[in-house]
Symmetry: C2
Amino acid sequence: MEYTKPLARLIEHFQKLPSIGPKTAMRLALYIVKMSQNEVENFSNALLEAKTKISYCSNCFNMSCSDPCEICSDQTRNKSIICVVGETKDLMAIEKTNEYHGLYHVLQGLISPLDGIGPDDIRVKELLFRVNQNNIKEVILALNPSVEGEATSLYLGKLLKPFNIKITRIAFGLPMGAELEYADEMTLARALEGRVEISLA
Amino acid sequence: MEYTKPLARLIEHFQKLPSIGPKTAMRLALYIVKMSQNEVENFSNALLEAKTKISYCSNCFNMSCSDPCEICSDQTRNKSIICVVGETKDLMAIEKTNEYHGLYHVLQGLISPLDGIGPDDIRVKELLFRVNQNNIKEVILALNPSVEGEATSLYLGKLLKPFNIKITRIAFGLPMGAELEYADEMTLARALEGRVEISLA
């Protein structure tokens, strides 16, 4: 059976999105048809608006409607710390913790020789430029604990060393609420490696 | 942290869709920003087009751009059998098997007293009208094996009985490839109940 054309087209568009398979795409498309005309128009406009209005901050490469972005232009933030992340979504995850009040640098990717992504394909130059130009005291590397993340951290660590600033990376270990018994060996090994002395007052 | 406005709006729209949680909505929205302008425009148009062009067949209540729908107006289909389904997606699932060549009737819901959905809220009247007016020989009930599906099947069975036509329902039992050992009790009970005699030629 063939789907009626406009439905087939919509299903195809949904299927192009990440993590949406053919069954979900069909369910979403059918749901759209059942939504009110008004809601669909708003959704349709929101897509266009997000695409046309959002661009990248020329300083930290965060997605934003303004340049510099809201974070870079926020006067209350600590401008002497830069937290380096791989993608905008990582920045958002850190912002949600409400624990960090410095600046960011979005690399827009991680070094991955297998995928043909080298240091020149991500925003490394721009990071060095910022560290060089501004009075940066600390760079926090907050990259995924994956092969690519580790390789990128190592590479950035070496490049940043000559600046004589504090270079840190986020801690890897057991997630909160986890049970030791069920943790994988890699995580447990990193948790042991990264052990911290307890101060007994 | 607050998302930049157009992004927040798009995330909100994605989150309204079924099976899309806040994390997926964010991932999809970020993906949209990274897509090409052209692709986003096409997606945006596909949404509007699906909503404006697709309506329901006034005969079988299938979603379609034409009325009667492609299936109802297909002269090669057997017009003496009606397969009754709950939703358009069930019709699509059956069409994909390529095993059925009769007509359909989409109830647009199932009887569910707990949700306040009674027989008058779904397309029961219209089904009886079709069975009464046309020369229908068989009605196949293909409703979900759920409490609502069973209740609706039972109700329709009673209403259709006076027409003196063949009334059947699809078989419930073990899915292909399943293992008896792992089947739940309900399924196994229905499989036993619906056992079929083997013809030894």
